[in-house]
Symmetry: C3
Subunit: 265 residues, 3 copies
């Protein structure tokens, strides 16, 4: 029962995602289908890449991940299939996989990327607007069935990469960015916990808000308190206990977060 | 692993859909369950029928589709099971399947419709308000298990049909209707692409907006441009590149769209 | 193919739920995964318990239900696994399972509760903020694989219970509470239908609204009429035919509903 995941900006009000699953199950009837999310903001490639990057490490070898956030559908942007270590990605060549390429390189996983050109693995008719159904779903299902990656098309040496914001070293700390806002309104940053020298003495600044100390959990504070903590991907996060930090602070994706070792630290 | 799909107006905030799946898996433990959508606007039979009609052709023979948009639940409206070619439908007899009956007739598929009367395939207790759980789910699961359609009840010669809007021929073009607004705000019409004589010379009018030419893809235009194109079901669609055409134009389901061959065409 | 259900307040915009499924399928590849709902209002333990209580009776023996509405994640609150008759629950010890404990006791099902302490069934690294992924998902998958409950930790004699509102006997009727508002805006109460002496003569009062008679179905009334009826769990419900009773009446969870035998009854 091979696993195929789906990440899109299609939403759940139409039957688009269900249609993709019909295509997949027609080709690979035993697939285990897992929705990562279909609520990526329309055309937001960065958000799609983040959702996929967060979930990827928790899937077993052999998993095929379909990701469709694809403002260039129907133009000359290439459709891709990718192997990162033992797992596979299928989607458009528009930078959606940038974080995962970087992760794979950092960890020394082997990487193989092909341009999907072999139409015998597509649906017979290819629309100009729904490659999720006509190209990515059937290719993912054939991959899950064991068709080798090289069957789908020629290698791609130069996949599109986005320039992702990186934390910057300051004399006494770091300048990081808010890279995501989750369902609870927690603000995810791109600062890895490993760089924090003395979490309990750290000072975190976001706009006019200053937080003293990085906590271990939500539950050790009073409801309504703004706190900094280490999230489940070992990144610095800003949260409002039992509340919504994004609404409370007015912060958005891209906002700067400064982190300082306390003078007394 | 038989496929059973679900289309409802139940939303996702309650556990109603999960409950239906518990009933199904109690009877058919190996079912592949696929959600088409549960975000049909409450009691909107037309929208439910459209979602199901779009996804249907992409599922393999043997698939059972449960559809529950059912304002008449608990009254004398008949519960139905239907065979269209090799696939099955289960749901209320209120016109929800009109588009699919028409499609099947147009394509010459065989059609068989029965009134669900055999209570040995229902749950032991039938509530007056949740036939999705008590009648449609267990019947779908038994169908997926291979119980013949004729076991469930007597034939129905006169299923309820809705009068669906159809495009109308004009002297120099067509008058069509907006029949759906998708998650991206794209406006789906009921005009088949096949009637367009010269797409690049076509003029499309929606309210005070006029669009010249039917495009091939979103990506060949500048963001923010209102365009007409052929959607993934080969219907005329109106879209705003990287934006929301429904919000931009203020158009709604039922609005008229006029299509003309250009005078220079 | 063991069934594992998931109920959370995680929403669907992030890939949190998908990540949990990756963990589960890595351990129990043949699991049938069923979402009950992920739209529980953040940290609302009562709503999470209600969603699970409604769906529970419709799942077969052997099903494992994961429920994560967990404001105390990372504090000393205990993680639990529970057997109620032939089904299992996995989640935090914060009262989320109160209704189900009461149901099991009322029906005389056997109950077994353990404190999850055996780390060999957790993920190797335990975050402080995402026990759904690191503890509850792997434990549920091992339970579904057949690991005996006693393997996971010592018995818990005193699980946390919430004090749930109960209907109160009045001289000529009952005082009940609104305990849920569903997707359609129907108001669910905690009054069992069995206590209604003569439903057609019953008078139901909610704030300034008075409803005469408890109906059998929505469909026997005119659209826009406020009615009382028996819901699919045999509780008294207040609904607006083809409309939204919560919006119409302004009622909220916790509001009182009084029920009287009619003077002429």
């Amino acid at each position: 029962m091979p696993i195929i995941t789906l990440t899109t900006d299609f939403g759940l009000k139409d039957s688009f995602v269900g249609t993709m699953k019909g295509v997949i199950l027609s080709i690979c009837p035993t697939a285990q289908l897992v929705d990562l999310t279909h609520e990526i903001p329309p055309q937001n490639i960065l958000a799609g890449g983040l959702a996929l990057w967060r979930a990827f490490p928790y899937f077993p070898a052999g998993t095929v991940h379909i990701a469709v956030v694809d403002p260039g559908v129907g133009t000359s942007r290439r459709p891709l299939a990718v192997r990162l270590g033992g797992q596979y990605l299928v989607g458009p060549d528009n930078g959606l996989f940038t974080s995962l390429y970087e992760e794979a390189e950092g960890r020394g996983w082997s990487i193989e990327i092909v341009h999907l050109t072999n139409k015998s693995y597509f649906l017979p008719e290819i629309s100009r607007t729904f490659h999720g159904r006509d190209i990515f779903s059937p290719v993912a299902a054939h991959l899950a069935n064991g068709v080798p990656l090289t069957e789908f098309g020629p290698p791609v040496p130069d996949p599109v990469r986005l320039s992702l914001p990186k934390p910057e070293r300051l004399p006494y700390g770091w300048r990081a960015q808010v890279i995501g806002v989750d369902h609870f309104g927690n603000l995810t940053t791109n600062l890895p916990a490993a760089v924090l020298f003395a979490p309990k003495q750290t000072i975190v600044r976001l706009g006019r808000f200053e937080i003293r100390g990085v906590s271990a959990t939500y539950g050790e504070h009073a409801p309504g308190e703004l706190i900094a903590l280490i999230d489940s991907e070992n990144r610095l996060e800003i949260a409002l206990v039992n509340g919504n930090a994004a609404q409370f602070t007015g912060a958005h994706i891209g906002d700067e977060v400064e982190v300082f070792d306390s003078p007394e630290g």
